[in-house]
Amino acid sequence: MASFAELVWLVPVVPLILSPFPIFAGDKLPRKGSFVAIFACAVSTVISAGALLTLPSIPYNVSVQWLLPGTATSIDVGFYLDGLSALMITITSGIATLILVYSLEYMSHEEGLPRYWTEMMIFTGSMLGFALADSVILMYVFWELIGACSYLLIGFWYTKPEAASAAKKAFVLVRVGDVGFLIGMILLYTNGHTLNLPAILSSPATLISSPQMRTIIALLVFAGAIGKSAQLPLFPWLPDAMEGPTTVSALIHSATMVAAGVYLVARLYPFFQVAPYALLVVGAIGALSAFVAATMGLVSFDIKRVLAYSTMSQLGYMMVALGVGAYGAAMFHLMNHAVFKAMLFLSAGAILHATGARDLREMGGLLKKMKVTGLAFLIGGLALSGIPPFNGYFSKDLIIGAAYQYGLVTGDFWIYLLVLISALLTAAYIFRAFFVAFILPPKSGATKEVHEVSLTMTIPMVILIGFTLVTGWLWSPLMDVFQPFVTYAASLGATPQAPSYVGLLTLAFALTGIGLAYLVYIRATVPPERFSSGRVLSKLRNLIMRSYYFDAAYDRVAAGVENGIALALDYFDRFALDGLVNGIGRSLVKLGRDFRSMETGEIRNYVAVMVIGAVLLILLFEVL
């Protein structure tokens, strides 16, 4: 019997190959082809998990020549299975399967379901292919397919102008980062003459001998990660992407699209390590994003947007981990975050399904009516805040500890400070949402008729609750099976461990955040309005509410292209350039008016003239 490693190519291929079925035959299949999608992702999950558990001791790599075969610079594509990729495909396929099961009920009343299933399959398959790819170009191919599918899925309700606009924004902003990735990849190819991962990972410093060039390439590749992982400054697509179905948000925010950016850096980590300053930039962008996103999460009233900003913030934590040399902790947080964030989104989706509300102000008292949903949100919130024993605690503690150690070594403590303050803000914003939606009495009567969603939707949530309780222990004082597993090269180094008082301080900050939310919203010691009164505070709030004017700036740029340079060039094209052409033409026409009598309009005559001309020409040459 073939081993799981030999079957691993099926993991992305099964969803991709089966993806046309729902859209072309969905109307004839039971439930619009949903079972094809669930079956495909379940197969991927089984193979992935099998490969994860029976991982060969050396990386399993199969590739074929794709472009320019037979030359010294041929471009190969194939699959590369090691601890890191095995982990990623297991997370992705597992969570995708749960989300698809949940969609059975959640999406059942929508039009265009065949399209939904097909796009979800391509989306998941692309992410799986991205994780398994053994060359940078294949990673780029799947990377872009992920982007295109997210475009289609965010715009699923395309008749809503907001959804159509959000989809475009997601595609174009991410594409801006992707141009960096593309240039970086091409520089890697033109300087190093290969794009194969084994070659790049084994000796990155000899592949590209110039350190400056290594930094340039690393930063350009990271630009792609900034776009996909919604880090500063390319994040505004992420909150807008909430216009898509909640299941799509759950998939995008847990194990696929945004995780791809972190995974890209993690996959190429040996290259980043030999690129001077590159990891510093990664850490700095991550820390700033973590903080900025946390502040935006505090002021948002849309429960999905709160979660979206929390994603951006948590991805910032992962980038920080990569930046401060805690590679293992970044992947650990990626896994834990994928689990609890999927759960939070499924919970928010259940609220939306039951009440039709996304605005926190329209909710209230939901815990009594939706016990499983409430429990999922609470546990997800605790995990997100970094409260033991939930999985988020373990990874976040490692990251903040590593940031502290980084401060000790380099003397730069600002990354540590930013992530520490963000830990407080994180706990505050998620519990603000929890208290308002689930505990506080409803402000209007809108939530009276609410009851818990059906089993199809609660079972995935319950499974995720289970994982939230379990996965954290994989790297804890009890055992450390996680880090050695994903460390695919000795150069990656072990995650720096901080003294235990650093962890206690982090925990204190998180608890303070929860306490603040409790004081403000439950005890109402300080009414929330107080935080937006006064000139400075209201200005600050305004700044944050407008997402630090990034949106406005991008709109300006787009308008500048459209109404500035494009308009000018269009006028130039129509009037100056074409005017010149027509001017010359008109004067020629005047000249030709004398020959007008010959233009009879009869096509037969034209053809006759043509033939006679050709014959004369030939005769002329014959004579010559």
Binding site: T71, T159, F171, R175, D178, I183, E562, A566, N582
Partner: protein, 502 residues
Amino acid sequence: MRCYDAVDFLTPLIFFPLATGGLLLALSQVGNLDELVPKIALLATIIELLLSFAMLSAYGLNIYKWSLGTFSEYHVYYWLPALGINLQFAVDGISVPLIILTAFTMICVVLSSMREISSRRSFYYSLLLITEGGIIGVFSSLNLFVFFIFWEIVLIPMFFLIGVWGGPRREYSSYKFLLYTHVGSVVMLIGIFLAYFSTGGVSFNMTSIAAKLASPSFSAVTKDAIFGTLVFGFLIKMPVFPFHTWLPDAHVEAPSPVSVVLASLLLKMGGYAMIRFAFEFIPQVAHSAAPFLLVLGVISALYGSLVAYRQTDVKRMVALSSISHMGFVLIGIASLTSIGLVGAVFQMFSHGIIVGSLFLLSGFVGESTGTREIPRLSGLAHWLPRLGGFMTFASLASVGLPGLSGFVGEFMIISGAFAANVAVGIVAAIILAFTAGYYMWMLQRMIFSKPMEGAAYRDLRGTELAALAIFAALIILLGVYPGLIQSYISPSVTNFFHMVKW
């Protein structure tokens, strides 16, 4: 007449459509064939495709070496030997993909014409077939004079196709098309005669002229003049900024199948000729002119994409994006790198199938809804789901989504551009973001968003759907497995670069 080879598929490939077209034209004068003629034309284009496959299967059997490379399949028929005018047909890895492209595209053109063209059908289809023969003749002629004749043969049917079946401003557009490109042809003809007489007036054969031009004793000024005049004609045909203004007008007025011929095939004549009759023909001059052409290519690519932003007519927008994509082709050629040139040829093929679908779709939008103005359209996907799906697919292909054919060519061209000049490479890569911008914006406004007040619009079906499906299948096939085409292009390009020693 003499033929070197027992299996010659190339000659019928050129003359079969010409003959069928001529026959139809003659028969239509006798009786009314309008009901039958679309089927005959479809059959003829399918036979043509089979012939081109037959040629592929024989590809590589009959090698002809010349100073700058090799041709597989080389056939000579003596026509006017006293003047050095002979029918010399040959193909290599650069022309073979384009011939296959022509054969596929013409099937789609005929399929998509079946419903749209209802008047004077015999005349229409015979013109299409003559055009097909002419285009394949251009892609396979080695004799400069014969090459020029085929080049002109294509022009005249196209003039009628736009002028007779075009939109409201068809006369203006068709004359502009004819006159503008004819100016290019005349200048080109001067170059051809210059090449002929300056090399002793013995032969129009490209390979023998090239050998004489390559001699160090040959006057450099004459060589520059030959190169300049030829390139001028090719730049108009491609078209490259600032010689492109005939293209948007011609496209807007032409019926959509004719737009497809124009964009998918005619522009490729310019790109192909640029490679064969400029860069391969006079490589010494090409080497020194390349930086200039490289800059022109970048300007063209950037200019086309920026002007496309402002277009309200979706067909005009596609036309301008076409200029942008052909700018990429020029970048690839002028990068003087092997990967860039392979990319340029690949891009020509891929652009042919992508822009073909886009013109069919944008033409269909106008036909179904009565307008092509993007601001007046909204939420079409709701009424026309098939159109919405294909339009989204083709737009993603056009913005170079990996996994679809557009990406492969762009990747190779940008790699070549980086090797030639880093700044050019960076600009070329940034253009990709612009392209994404205007295509996505068009989709957002026209295909998505709130559905406009509904009448019962007709969605794609039947032969139109078949044509688009053929294009879509090719786009995916070449995106997933580019080796199908690239394996033909690379050996010829490698050989050329090996010989030319730039």
